[in-house]
């Protein structure tokens, strides 16, 4: 069966909802988040505000400087969640298999409804369906969405980022390699700041550079190498994640050479923490236990964990506790072959203690 995957991304979701609710905000640079006079960050910005360089997660004070005419609106999370539920309902009614990726993103599998003689003909069958879906969201919710269509999750997501807002992009199997060529390596799933730096260090800047790279990428990025090469060629066989209950989330990295270099280990933990935090957010979970795992050259493997009072959701906290565990137990007393970080004891926090700092 040919795979047909759509990635749907709502355009400036929070800001668009605010503009829909309050006509006076339409056409204005709307910044959802803390007011610029207070400590706090931008949650979302309308496209009008983005032209001034305002981005989400930016300190509100900076946003206020970049966009002095910006209209700051306090977030109404309840409203956004309600809206998200409404949109997810519409998606479910299409008959597709739906993976909710975040509050304003979802991945849809239309494979069973779109089968033709070859892969690209199958993908083309999804175009009118996607267009109809956009119309329905516009009619019923008065919001715009951008949809990417491709044969896998990786490409569908890249397609949905390609033309925003209100876009619809199809990446066919025939065109995918050429489509990816000019894009920066960072575009690929799994390439964060650290991996990007490593790749840049080897003069690999675009996905095309990766496609043309003759050597073994494992020399640069370890066990991620073969998968990175597949991603660069637009191949991805990850299935949709369909919300079965998650017990734990973890990642581990086997180093090319055993290492006790603190910088390498910290960078590794930081990346793992970021990945874990992203997954926690996607599933709206908090973790009460953090664990680290180390394996030495002789394959002795140890793991240590700590359980905390307030559920953890942020990468910085996962990283901090990971470092703390390694330090407390003097685990890096000799070079490591493998380093792993994970969280467990997960549940959906209904209540969250807000931090002072």
């Amino acid at each position: 069966m040919f795979r047909v995957i759509c990635h749907l991304d709502m355009d400036a979701f929070y800001a668009s909802i605010e503009q829909r609710e309050n006509p006076a905000l339409r056409g204005k640079p709307v910044i959802v988040g803390a007011p610029p006079t207070q400590r706090g960050v931008v949650c979302a910005a309308s496209y009008e505000a983005r032209t001034f360089g305002v981005r989400s997660a930016m300190p509100s004070a900076t946003a206020g400087r970049l966009c002095p005419k910006g209209v700051f609106v306090r977030p109404h999370m309840d409203r956004y969640k309600e809206e998200s539920r409404g949109i997810m309902r519409i998606l479910a009614e299409t008959g597709a298999v739906v993976e909710p990726v975040s509050i304003d993103e979802a991945c849809l599998d239309f494979s069973s409804a779109c089968q033709a003689t070859d892969a690209d003909a199958s993908l083309r069958l999804a175009v009118p369906i996607a267009r109809q879906l956009k119309h329905r969201i516009a009619d019923e919710r008065r919001l715009t969405a951008t949809i990417g269509i491709a044969a896998n999750k990786l490409l569908a997501k890249i397609a949905s980022d390609h033309q925003k807002p209100d876009g619809l992009t199809l990446i066919t199997e025939a065109e995918k390699v050429a489509f990816l060529r000019p894009l920066p390596v960072r575009t690929l799933y799994g390439v964060g700041k650290v991996t990007e730096q490593v790749l840049h260090g080897a003069e690999l800047r675009t996905i095309g550079d990766l496609q043309d790279h003759g050597g073994d990428l494992r020399a640069l990025v370890g066990s991620f190498g073969p998968r990175l090469k597949q991603f660069a060629l637009g191949e991805d066989d990850r299935p949709l994640e369909l919300g079965e209950e998650i017990k734990s989330i973890s990642g581990e990295e086997t180093f090319l050479q055993d290492t006790e270099d603190r910088r390498v280990l910290r960078a590794c933990l930081k990346e793992q923490a970021a990945d874990i935090a992203t997954k926690l957010k996607r599933h709206r979970l908090g973790a009460n236990t953090v664990q680290v795992k180390v394996r030495y050259g002789d394959f002795t493997t140890l793991s240590r964990q700590i359980t905390v009072e307030d559920p953890i959701t942020e990468a910085a906290d996962i990283y901090r506790l990971g470092c703390w565990l390694l330090g407390r137990e003097h685990l890096v007393s000799r070079p490591l072959r493998l380093l792993g970080l994970g969280v467990s004891n997960l549940y959906e926090p209904t209540l969250r203690q807000l931090p002072l700092f």
């Binding site: 400590r39 709206r284 700590i306 905390v308 009072e309 307030d310 901090r320 506790l321 703390w324 549940y347 959906e348 926090p349 209904t350 209540l351 969250r352 203690q353 807000l354 931090p355 002072l356 700092f357």
Partner: protein, 369 residues
């Protein structure tokens, strides 16, 4: 070494120092108290290498000398003795003979030379104040110190001695208690440091309602010298927590929308009742304000709910905010004032509990997801 001493004196001295002995120490001598008999007094010292406590009590010394003895055993013996006076004699092999009326004990000690040296403290004193004042300041803040061992710098009480003021701050990242007092601190001895929790707990135990306390500090140690009215001294020396304390001033709200006067005892009791209906996963109470009324509710899906209304002087609009009841109760219990003032803005902004005096307590709300 030979001396005689009143049972009560000896017991109170041992009581002051014995707490910091750790039961799982690797160095056996750290289970001992160092005794030094000299002149008309007996000095007692105990250390766990981080915190050291020394005190002196009256004794009649017939042969001066030093020894170390297991402090828990010694304290148990002295406490259980039937007669008011006891005699202590130690031979060259550090074996102690203790006689009190019909009772006789032989205790094996270790020579004083093997005891870790007590830190020398040459530093000038920074500030002197009545013990009662420092005790009250500790009571108003120490409950907010973090017990999260992964946040090392918060595992202590922050002391700021500057600008003619002594300020104490404690926080665990979710609430923050602050109090200050005017004090004479000259320009050169202005200091800021973090005193570890264990030392704070012991200091609170040592402080009395009468007498003075002097504070001295070096780069990595602090000493509190307690001068009793009877002329006896006790001293606590502690290592300081290394690291930079968070910038606490920036989390203290400069203004708030509402200031509500509440009767401390009334609020405390109502919160205690509501707290019963909280659970691990629903550990919050909601305070809902409406005209002249505060409604306190707790709600745990698996347990049930509690609701209670208090009459308050409130004229603003209706709003509600949720807090961890333990955080509120900690502060209300530590205070003695009849009235407290709760400054609030909305359900996401910090609340500030104040009294008619130099104290404030910032507490972050809990948010429903």
């Amino acid at each position: 070494m030979k001396f005689s001493i009143a049972k009560d004196q000896f017991a109170s001295g041992l009581q002051s120092v014995q707490n910091i002995v750790s039961s799982r120490t690797t160095l056996p001598i750290l289970s001992n108290v160092l005794l030094r008999a000299e002149g008309d007094r007996l000095d007692l010292t105990v250390t766990d290498l981080d915190v050291t406590i020394q005190c002196d009590v009256s004794a009649t010394v017939s042969r001066p000398g030093t020894v170390t003895l297991p402090v828990k055993k010694l304290f148990s013996i002295v406490r259980e003795l039937g007669s008011p006076e006891l005699e202590v004699e130690v031979d060259d092999r550090s074996v102690c003979s203790l006689r009190a009326g019909p009772s006789f004990f032989k205790i094996n000690g270790l020579p004083a030379e093997e005891y870790p040296p007590v830190p020398e403290f040459e530093e000038q004193r920074i500030v002197a104040m009545p013990q009662e004042v420092l005790g009250s300041m500790l009571r108003k803040t120490s409950f907010a110190v973090s017990t999260d061992e992964t946040r090392y710098v918060l595992n202590g009480l922050f002391f700021s001695l500057k600008e003619h003021k002594i300020t104490l701050v404690a926080t665990d990242g979710r609430r923050l208690a602050l109090t200050d007092e005017e004090a004479e601190i000259d320009g050169e001895s202005q200091r800021e440091f973090i005193v570890p929790t264990k030392a704070v707990v012991e200091l609170q135990r040592l402080l009395h309602d009468k007498g003075q306390v002097e504070v001295r500090a070096t780069e990595n140690q602090v000493a509190f010298m307690l001068l009793g009215e009877d002329g006896h001294r006790a001293q606590l020396i502690s290592k300081l927590v290394e690291g930079t304390y968070p910038n606490y001033q920036q989390v203290i709200p400069k203004e708030s929308k509402e200031r509500i006067t509440l009767i401390r005892e009334e609020l405390l009791l109502a919160l205690r009742r509501a707290e019963i209906m909280t659970s691990d996963k629903a550990n919050s109470v909601k305070l809902s304000f409406s005209r002249n009324q505060l409604s306190i509710t707790a709600n745990s899906p698996d347990v049930g709910e509690a609701r209670e209304n208090l009459a308050v002087n409130y004229k603003g609009g209706d709003f509600g905010v949720a807090f961890n009841p333990t955080f509120l109760l900690d502060a209300l219990k530590a205070l003695a004032e009849e009235e407290v003032f709760f400054e609030l803005t909305d359900e996401l902004s910090p609340g500030v509990l104040k009294i008619n005096g130099p104290f404030l307590y910032v507490i972050m709300p809990m948010r429903m997801n």
